[in-house]
C-alpha cells in the first residue's frame, strides 16, 4: 500500500485523493494496459488487424460477443 495515501476527505464524507507516488502510477498504467489489451483481443483482433497473422480463431471464438458488444464485424 502506498504510504503517501491521504485521507483528507474521510471526515467530511466526500472522496479523498488516494493516489501518490510512482508505485501507484505504475499500477494504474499496468491496469490500463491490461484493460486495453483485453478490449483489443475481444473487439478488434483478426478483424481489421491481427497480431497472430492470417488466422480467424480469436475472431470466431468471440464472434457473438463481438457483435453484441457493439464492435464492427465482418
Amino acid at each position: 500500500m502506498s504510504t503517501s495515501t491521504t485521507l483528507d476527505g474521510a471526515r467530511t464524507g466526500s472522496t479523498p485523493v488516494v493516489l501518490g507516488g510512482t508505485r501507484a502510477a505504475l499500477w494504474l498504467f499496468g491496469t490500463v494496459l491490461l484493460g486495453v489489451a483485453l478490449y483489443y483481443f475481444i473487439g478488434i483482433d483478426q478483424g481489421a488487424t491481427s497480431v497472430f497473422g492470417n488466422d480467424t480463431h480469436v475472431h470466431e471464438f468471440v464472434h457473438d460477443a463481438r457483435h453484441f458488444l457493439g464492435f464492427p464485424c465482418h
Binding site: 499500477w27 478490449y39 457483435h67
Partner: protein, 282 residues
C-alpha cells in the same frame, strides 16, 4: 490503495460480465440466430441467381468453431473478459477521479464513474455506429469501420473527461447545478458536431461504389435481373431487438459495476468512526 481499487474493480467487472452474458444468452442469441439464418438464406438465393446468370458460385468457408460453441462458450468468455477489462479501466478512472471531482461521496462517485464509462465506451459511440448483428457489414470495409468506431470511442472518452474538467472549472462561478448543465451542454455540442462530420458506414467509398448512397450497411432486398425482389432486406424487427438488447446488456454490465463497487468504495474511503489511521485491508 490503488491495488484495492484494481482488484475490486476487476471483480465487479467479472460479476457484471457474467450477468450481461446470462442476459445475452437468453435475449441476444435468438436474434443472432435469426440474423445468421437470414444470411445463409440470402446466400442460397444469391447462389441461385449467380448460377442462373452463369457466374461462378461462391462457397462458404468452414468455420473453426460450431455455432453452439460460439453461442454458449464463446459469447460467455467474450463478455466476461470484456467485463473484466471494463472493471479494470473503471477502477483506474475511479482512483483518478477520487478527490478531483468536487464534494462527492465515494458511493455516489462510484455510480457517476460507471455512468461515464457506459456513455464514453459504449452508448455515445453506439449513437453513431450502433451494434450490428451478423449479416450486416461488408467484409471489405472492416478496416474503415473499425477505425471509425475506435475513433468515436476515443473522442467520447476525451470529450467526457474534458467535460468533467470544465464542470469543475465552472463550479466556483455558476454553482454545481448550473456548472453541470453547462458542461453537459458543451459535451453534447462537441459530440454532435463530431457525429455530423464523421461518415456513416453506408457512405464509405467501397459501399457507395457497390450499392449507392445508403445510411448503413444493412442488406437491401436481393433482386433478380428483372428487378423483382427474390429475397427480402434484413428484417427491421430483428435489427431493433438486437440493438435494444445490446444496449440493455451494457446497461446491466455498467449498472452492476457501479452498484457493486459503491459499497466497496464506501468501505475503503468512507469515514470510520473508530479509526482514521489505515484503510481496511480486507
Amino acid at each position: 490503495m490503488e491495488r484495492h481499487f484494481i482488484v475490486r474493480g476487476m471483480a465487479v467487472g467479472a460479476i457484471g460480465g457474467l450477468l450481461a452474458f446470462l442476459f445475452a444468452r437468453i435475449f441476444a442469441e435468438p436474434q443472432i440466430q435469426k440474423a445468421i439464418d437470414y444470411e445463409s438464406g440470402r446466400h442460397t438465393a444469391q447462389s441461385a441467381l449467380d448460377k442462373a446468370a452463369g457466374l461462378a458460385v461462391e462457397h462458404e468457408h468452414a468455420e473453426p468453431f460450431s455455432r453452439a460453441f460460439q453461442g454458449n462458450v464463446g459469447i460467455g468468455v467474450g463478455i466476461i473478459a470484456f467485463g473484466i477489462a471494463m472493471g479494470a479501466l473503471y477502477a483506474v478512472a475511479y482512483a483518478l477521479a477520487c478527490g478531483r471531482t468536487g464534494k462527492v461521496r465515494p458511493r455516489t462517485l462510484a455510480l457517476l464513474v460507471a455512468g461515464g464509462g457506459f456513455l464514453a465506451l459504449y452508448l455515445i459511440p453506439f449513437a453513431k455506429y450502433p451494434a450490428n448483428p451478423p449479416a450486416i457489414g461488408h467484409e471489405d470495409t472492416i478496416r474503415e469501420r473499425s477505425g471509425l468506431y475506435l475513433l468515436m470511442v476515443g473522442i467520447s472518452i476525451v470529450v467526457l473527461v474534458a467535460g468533467a474538467w470544465l464542470g469543475q472549472r465552472l463550479q466556483a462561478r455558476f454553482g454545481t447545478w448550473n456548472a453541470t448543465l453547462l458542461a453537459v451542454l458543451a459535451c453534447a455540442v462537441v459530440l454532435g458536431a463530431v457525429m455530423l462530420v464523421l461518415p456513416s458506414f453506408g457512405e464509405l467509398s467501397a459501399n457507395v461504389e457497390a450499392y449507392g448512397h445508403h445510411a448503413t450497411e444493412t442488406p437491401l432486398p436481393l433482386r433478380d435481373a428483372q428487378g423483382r425482389i427474390v429475397y427480402p432486406g434484413f428484417p427491421a424487427d430483428t435489427l431493433f431487438a438486437f440493438r435494444f438488447f445490446s444496449v440493455a446488456a451494457q446497461a446491466v454490465l455498467w449498472g452492476t459495476i457501479g452498484l457493486c463497487f459503491a459499497p466497496l468504495a464506501e468501505r475503503l474511503l468512507g469515514p470510520r468512526p473508530d479509526t482514521n489511521a489505515a484503510p481496511a485491508t480486507v
